[in-house]
């Protein structure tokens, strides 16, 4: 058997995400082994729980190191993946990032760290590309209000957003962060309402996203286009928010209706695995293991340096995205992935941008609440 290491958050606060990555990796594993494994041997995962904390993840690295795994995949939070990346660079173990999207993991990065999924710059740019695209249709789009949690991901996405807004000539009329765990956004939304922003750029996890969407209605806050990152990407968002979810846009690394080959098949398998509507989290888990297996197959030996060398030369098409690790804009080992903008239309997440990958047209503008 060929064993690869996985460090994932299976317990603790990030377990919700860990579970999904795990499911995605399992689907990839089944696919790979059904196709004869790698190098003619079955592939197995040596999974270690990091309890959602960095120190356990570091202990897990040592433990996997003792098992001599050729590479390790992990983990979700940047507070865990950051220290992992540092240690693994020193110990010269290849790391394929599982969930963490923080820029700092691959910028400046290291020769040992690879990320096939997006980062905050790519995601923020997708949002602003989308806004620009809307502005082509309606040149009155000018002002943007930003609202984000104070976690690492929302904060970095907000930072990028602020930079891009300036670069591309939007006026930021509101810029507010909130402490995660807050459930009452009325004070902020009320404030935004008096600013009458054209665009609303929100970065919030699931619960917060739902609360924000509901309370926008409650305080009667309107915008021509609304983007809610992360929170709005989950199927549960539509369940919880119902009709209020219509027109909301969100950026993901993968969606079931994107125009890549094999997407439908992957969708079915992911869905069968979890029994629920799959999300980009599962897809990213799947992606990471596919990248790993591809490298192991191509490597001269299972020596870590060999594995690293071929990882750097990855050129792989998957139903999730195309993968090639490049150095650009200060990033290193980063896949310049094309993120997708989804919009919620009639209770479904629909890919609407970039246009060449889109399944439907964008619905614009968002009608005001009272007219829905």
């Amino acid at each position: 058997d060929i064993e690869v290491g996985v460090i994932n958050s299976l317990s603790g606060p990030f377990a919700a995400f860990g579970e999904r990555y795990q499911a995605g990796m399992e689907v990839a594993l089944e696919e790979i082994n059904a196709g004869g494994g790698v190098r003619g041997e079955p592939l197995t995962l040596s999974v270690q729980d990091d309890r959602s904390e960095a120190t356990s993840a570091l202990a897990a690295i040592e433990s996997l190191n003792r098992q001599d795994v050729p590479l390790i995949m992990g983990s979700y939070a940047s507070s865990i993946t950051g220290p992992m990346a540092q240690l693994m660079t020193r110990q010269e173990i290849p790391l394929i990032v599982l969930g963490s999207a923080d820029n700092s993991i691959t910028k400046p990065g290291s020769p040992w760290v690879f990320r096939a999924k997006h980062n905050s710059t790519i995601v923020a740019e997708s949002y602003f590309d989308y806004f620009d695209f809307l502005r082509e249709q309606d040149d009155s789009l000018e002002t943007v209000a930003m609202l984000y949690g104070n976690g690492a991901w929302p904060a970095s996405l907000a930072e990028e957003g602020e930079r891009l807004a300036e670069e591309r000539g939007y006026e930021v009329v509101g810029n507010q962060s909130y402490d995660q765990g807050t459930s009452d956004f009325r004070p902020i939304l009320n404030r935004f309402r008096s600013e009458e922003p054209d665009l609303l750029y929100v970065v919030a996890y699931a619960e917060d996203g739902v609360a924000i969407a509901r309370q926008m209605r409650e305080v009667n806050l309107n915008a021509k286009a609304v983007a809610i990152d992360t929170g709005a990407a989950l199927p549960s968002f539509v369940d919880q928010v119902g009709d209020l979810a219509e027109y909301v846009a969100t950026v993901v690394s993968w969606s079931k209706d994107v125009q890549y080959e094999g997407v439908e098949d992957l969708y079915e398998r992911l869905k069968a695995k979890t029994g629920e509507e799959p999300t980009f989290y599962e897809a990213e888990g799947y992606l990471a293991l596919r990248v790993a297996a591809d490298a192991l197959e191509r490597a001269e030996s299972l020596e870590r340096s060999d594995v690293r060398d071929v990882l750097a030369e990855t050129d792989l098409d998957t139903p999730v995205t195309h993968v090639a690790f490049e150095s650009f804009d200060g990033f290193q080992g980063q896949n310049p992935i094309r993120s997708l903008v989804l919009q919620i239309q009639d209770g479904e997440h629909v890919t609407v941008f970039p246009t060449d990958l889109a399944a439907e047209d964008v619905r614009y503008p968002t009608p005001v609440w009272d007219e829905r």
Binding site: L10, S11, G12, A15, Q48, D49, D50, R51, E53, A54, T55, S56, L58, A59, A60, I61, E62, S63, N65, R66, S78, S79, G82, P83, A85, Q86, L87, R90, D102, S104, P108, N150, G151, A152, P154, A155, S156, E159, S177, D179, Q180
Partner: protein, 317 residues
């Protein structure tokens, strides 16, 4: 007391040889040593002086941030930044204590949670000072005498030194005048005053010492992780873990916090690898069981039982 010094010397010897024997298990050992040191430092205030703090993550954070921001943003060598952190922690503890020491028991404890939470928010929101919510990476460190401060070995010996220093400090305190003043204040402040002790001063000294030592560990922690994020490092759960470690081991005993660290970190690591998703559940149960059957801690409970029993024997005989 002598036997404590012998145990101490023995443990330090084992500690020095450990990396040679188990080079593949350093991260766990570092975590254990850090917790042993933190819990021991916490215990100066929480155990010996009887003021249960659930805000010690603030001091860990202070130490960690001085080192991380110092190297990452201002190019200050970690030994200088740790030194500054020690002073800052002592000053912080002084002000903190001045403000809250008139509160007793649970009120004091709750106030520490509140203050620590405020520090967490400051660390997150004041990006100009701390690097903000996205955290701080330590990319490069100076190499004193050619030592690579990032290497596990060096991290390990730093953590060992930290744990050894705190335990030594507590050993020295425990049989000194100050140690008895601490215990007196813990037992009964009025009665302590009648013995000429100023409870506030004594508690302040304990808090300053405890805070400074905790910050020392925090600085080493930052080097160990090389990436710190305010949510994690100023988190209530870290404070709770530190207090938990000391209390489970036995408050107000020299070895209790170390034994607590062995149990908490050790069992955490074992459960993590054996019980998969259920590991935190088992861990929670373990805590409950230990506390229910040994409310004064693993070291504290038998010690107390032995003393009383020996005495009962003698009284009867």
């Amino acid at each position: 007391m002598k036997k404590h010094y012998i145990i101490f010397a023995g443990l330090v010897m084992v500690g020095i040889l450990y990396p040679q024997m188990f080079p593949g298990y350093l991260s766990v050992a570092i975590t254990l040593l850090l917790y042993a040191g933190w819990a021991t430092a916490w215990d100066i205030l929480g155990g010996w002086a009887g003021q249960v703090s659930l805000g010690h993550a603030s001091f860990v954070g202070l130490g960690a941030y001085f080192v991380a921001v110092g190297t990452a943003h201002h190019e200050i060598a970690p030994w200088w930044s740790i030194l500054m952190a020690l002073v800052a922690a002592a000053m912080l503890a002084y002000l903190w204590g001045r403000l809250t020491f008139k509160l007793k028991g649970p009120y004091f404890t709750l106030s520490t949670i509140a203050i620590a939470e405020i520090f967490r928010l400051i660390a997150i929101n004041e990006g100009w000072l701390t690097g903000g919510a996205t955290g701080v990476f330590i990319m490069t460190l100076p190499e004193p005498f050619g030592l690579d401060l990032f290497s596990r070995q060096v991290n390990y010996y730093l953590a060992l030194a930290f744990a050894a220093i705190t335990v030594l400090v507590v050993m020295l305190i425990s049989c000194s005048k100050f140690g008895y003043q601490l215990r007196a204040v813990r037992e009964d402040e009025d009665s302590a005053m009648a013995s000429g002790i100023n409870p506030t001063t004594v508690k302040l000294k304990a808090f300053m010492l405890s805070g400074a030592l905790t910050a020392l560990g925090g600085g080493i922690y930052a080097i160990f992780l090389s990436f710190i994020e305010p949510h994690i490092i100023f988190y209530l759960l870290l404070s709770v873990q530190i207090a938990l470690t000391a209390i489970i081991g036995g408050r107000g005993t020299i070895w209790g916090p170390c034994v607590g660290a062995l149990l908490i970190v050790g069992s955490g690591e074992i459960f993590r690898t054996t019980f998969a998703e259920a590991n935190m559940l088992i861990y929670g149960l373990l805590i409950m069981v230990v506390v229910i059957f040994m409310p004064r801690g693993i070291v504290g409970e038998p010690a107390r039982y032995l003393i009383r029993r020996v005495y009962a024997k003698r009284a009867q005989g």
